[in-house]
């Protein structure tokens, strides 16, 4: 039945309905024909029984006396009567099987053996119109006063019954064909119409590039049937999916700003601290303008402070750039990250282990933006998870096929809800932030993998990103 599977439901169901009708029609026709055959058999047996019994009564004494003329005369007169049309030939023999007389004496002469006539003859109880023979042969004992005095052989013409049966068969076939044809067409159209909303639903779900589209209101069935409810429910689901996607997008945006917000105080501190030194340097320059050495040192100090401010500003701008994915990842990006996380690390009085080893690696296929966002989010979480005087680490190394980013912290370990957001695609429990889920989605987008381990008091989140997307696809 594999060939049947690809056929559309709107063709399959009407075909099934038509097949059922053909089956029912065939079974019903067979029953009708069987009943007709039984009626005909009963009719022919009854007729033959009456014929034999009537002849037995009339011929019994004549056969006993071997009165050939009277036997013939009785048979001849019986043949002229109505049943003669059915009984095409009747022959009567004595108890030894010698023919006394027959309705057709030329065919069955006097004194011939009746067995020669009844070669294929059956008994009364075996008489049946079955088969194609238009003439049935019957051989029955001629019983008179309780004893068998002879035999009666009769040939019955059942061609009219066979014709009746053939006619019934033809009428049944014709009637069934017409009825099944009409019903199949009607069923096909009706089921096709009934299935139209399902077809529309399937089209809206599949023909829009994987993004479900709502069913136009005009195509939603009238009333409150299952299909109307299905269409409305589908539209509601499409709306909910779109709303969810929109909400997630907004949350992701917000998360970015949240991350920046969390950075801003540190950044302010980072900017504010050198500002005092810089202002002191300008005071020194004003005060000791005549002392070139002091001016040079102050100018150097100003230069370093301003460069630092420039770097911080650039890193912040890069991080917040709207479309950062076009640029490939580089060592600078991790320097920027270090610059960005350093103030937070300092604020929380944490130790930072930083090891970035990208020499010789081909990172041209890895976009910078997502990796920066992933690393920053994980670092910020690691900082938040650490107790004061804890240790936060970033370890990046590039192998032949993958870039591995390992974020460690000495915090107490991630709660289960946070792990679910980071490692699973299930619905997010309310209350938690979307930063970790954003990390997961970004890693998925890069074709990467996240693993988590908590061992010897350290939590390790490892993100592996393939350096070649095609290779990653091939591995999948």
């Amino acid at each position: 039945m594999k060939w049947f599977a690809p056929i559309a439901l709107s063709i399959k169901l009407p075909l099934l309905a038509a097949a059922m009708m053909v089956l029912v029609g065939t079974v019903a026709s067979q029953q009708v024909l069987r009943s007709l055959a039984q009626v005909q058999d009963a009719r022919i047996r009854e007729l033959a029984r009456m014929h034999v019994e009537g002849l037995s009564v009339a011929l019994g004494p004549l056969v006993l006396r071997h009165d050939i003329w009277e036997v013939y005369d009785t048979l001849d007169r019986a043949a002229q009567a109505g049943e003669g049309r059915r009984m095409v030939l009747t022959a009567v023999a004595d108890e030894r099987g010698r023919v006394l007389a027959a309705t057709d004496p030329r065919r069955v002469p006097m004194d011939s053996d009746i067995a020669a006539l009844g070669g294929e003859a059956v008994t009364l109880d075996e008489l049946s119109v079955d088969g194609a023979a238009p003439i049935l042969s019957l051989l029955a004992p001629l019983t008179y006063q309780g004893r068998t005095v002879g035999q009666i052989a009769t040939e019955l013409d059942v061609s009219d019954l066979l014709a009746e049966r053939r006619q019934a068969l033809v009428l049944l076939i014709l009637g069934n064909a017409i009825a099944i044809g009409l019903l199949s067409v009607a069923g096909f159209l009706a089921i096709r119409k009934m299935l139209h909303p399902v077809t529309t639903l399937a089209r809206q779900m599949t023909e829009s590039g994987g993004e479900p589209r709502p069913i136009p209101p005009l195509e939603i069935p009238q009333g409150d049937g299952e299909l109307a409810r299905l269409a409305r429910t589908y539209n509601a689901m499409v709306g909910a999916v779109a709303a969810r996607a929109e909400a997630e997008r907004r949350l992701a945006d917000r998360e970015r700003f949240v991350a920046l917000g969390r950075l801003s105080s540190s950044l302010a501190h980072e900017i504010n601290n050198p500002l005092g030194g810089l202002l002191n340097a300008t005071d020194t320059i004003r005060t000791f303008a005549d002392r070139p050495e002091a001016v040079r040192r102050s100018a150097d100090l100003l230069d370093r402070g301003l460069r630092h401010l420039r770097d911080v500003t650039r890193a912040t701008l890069d991080q917040n750039r709207i479309d950062p994915e076009d640029r490939a990842l580089g060592t600078d990006d991790f320097e920027d990250l270090k610059l960005l996380i350093q103030p937070e690390v300092s604020r929380l009085a944490l130790d930072l282990d930083w090891l970035v080893h990208l020499d010789g690696a081909d990172l041209s296929k890895i976009p910078a933006g997502p990796v920066r966002q992933i690393s920053l989010n994980l670092l910020l979480n690691a900082c938040a998870a650490c107790r004061p005087s804890g240790r936060v680490g970033l370890r990046v190394c590039a192998a032949a096929h993958a870039l591995t980013i390992e974020i460690t912290n000495t915090g107490p370990g991630m709660p289960q809800a946070a792990l679910d957001r980071l490692l699973g695609d299930g619905p997010m429990s309310p209350g938690g932030g979307v930063g970790l889920r954003l990390v997961r989605e970004l890693v998925n987008g890069l074709g990467g993998r996240i693993t988590h381990a908590h061992d010897h008091g350290a939590t390790v989140i490892t993100v592996a990103v393939p350096t070649h997307r095609e290779a990653a696809h091939a591995q999948e």
């Binding site: 050939i68 003329w69 013939y72 005369d73 001849d76 007389a101 057709d104 004496p105 030329r106 002469p109 006097m110 004194d111």
Partner: protein, 282 residues
């Protein structure tokens, strides 16, 4: 069976019914009939009965039996007053029976016995029928048995051995049917009956052919016991038979029977039959 004579007879029946009052007051006269060709036609029988009844001035009961022997027996034991017999049984009981009248057919009181076969049969004479099946009318019939039996005897044959099987149909018309239907190969039949059937049932006789005719023999006569020949009822019958041609219904009855009339019979008329009887049982 419906034919011209029956319709004519029916017209006469109405007239007879109107005049039937004359028959009251006399004892019923019983006339026995051998199974001649007409015995299967109630209208012919009834026409004859009414015509004779009118001529005799009394009711007539026509008594029919299957065999000649039964009718002869009825006549001998006076169960019937007279009987239309065959020359053969008359001669068998000539010591007791006497002749009342004899029919006139085709101008004379004689008829022939016919030997018939099927139309396709190649036989041309009795001798060609050896080993075949044969139908006789009645063992006491002259034309339907005696003639063929004596012909065989004259050939030095016996009925039982010459034919493979012979049957009695107890009716001349039945002999014609048996041959026509192919039940038997050949048959011995009353020539008068065959000729009458050729007129009223030509389809039946057309399925037979006559291959031999006997000499002219005395026509089956109407007989009575000799001791009652001069009784009033028998004389009334005799005059009624002789006068049939004088009345309309009488003529209709004669026409139905295809007879010209009746005439007085003499014993010498049956000498030919007597001769055959002596040949058969010397």
């Amino acid at each position: 069976m419906k034919y011209l004579f029956s319709r004519r007879s029916l017209v006469g029946l109405g007239l007879v019914a109107l005049l039937s009052g004359r028959a009251h007051g006399q004892p019923v006269f019983r006339l026995g009939l051998t199974p001649v060709f007409l015995d299967n036609d109630a209208a012919v029988i009834d026409g004859l009965r009414r015509a004779l009844s009118r001529g005799m001035g009394r009711d007539i009961e026509l008594v029919q039996r299957r065999t000649y022997q039964e009718i002869t027996g009825l006549l001998l034991d006076r169960s019937v007053d007279a009987a239309w017999l065959c020359g053969y049984p008359y001669l068998q009981h000539a010591d007791v029976l006497d002749l009342v009248a004899v029919p006139v057919w085709r101008g004379g009181p004689r008829y022939q016995s016919y030997l018939i076969v099927g139309p396709e049969d190649g036989a041309e004479a009795l001798s060609d029928l050896r080993g075949g099946t044969h139908a006789f009318s009645d063992p006491d019939s002259n034309s339907g048995y005696l003639v063929t039996a004596t012909d065989l005897r004259r050939m030095g044959e016996q009925v039982e051995s010459f034919f493979s099987r012979s049957i009695f149909t107890f009716g001349h018309r039945n002999v014609v049917r048996a041959v026509a239907d192919g039940l038997v190969r050949s048959g011995s039949v009353d020539g008068y009956v065959w000729e009458a059937l050729a007129v009223i049932e030509p389809d039946l006789t057309a399925r037979t052919q006559v291959i031999a005719r006997s000499e002219w023999l005395g026509f089956p006569p109407v007989c009575a016991r000799g001791d009652s020949l001069n009784s009033e009822p028998v004389e009334a019958l005799q005059s009624a038979l002789m006068g049939l041609h004088a009345t309309e219904e009488g003529r209709q009855a004669l026409a139905s029977l295809q007879l010209d009339g009746f005439q007085p019979a003499t014993a010498g008329l049956f000498d030919g039959i007597a001769e055959r009887m002596s040949d058969l049982d010397p």
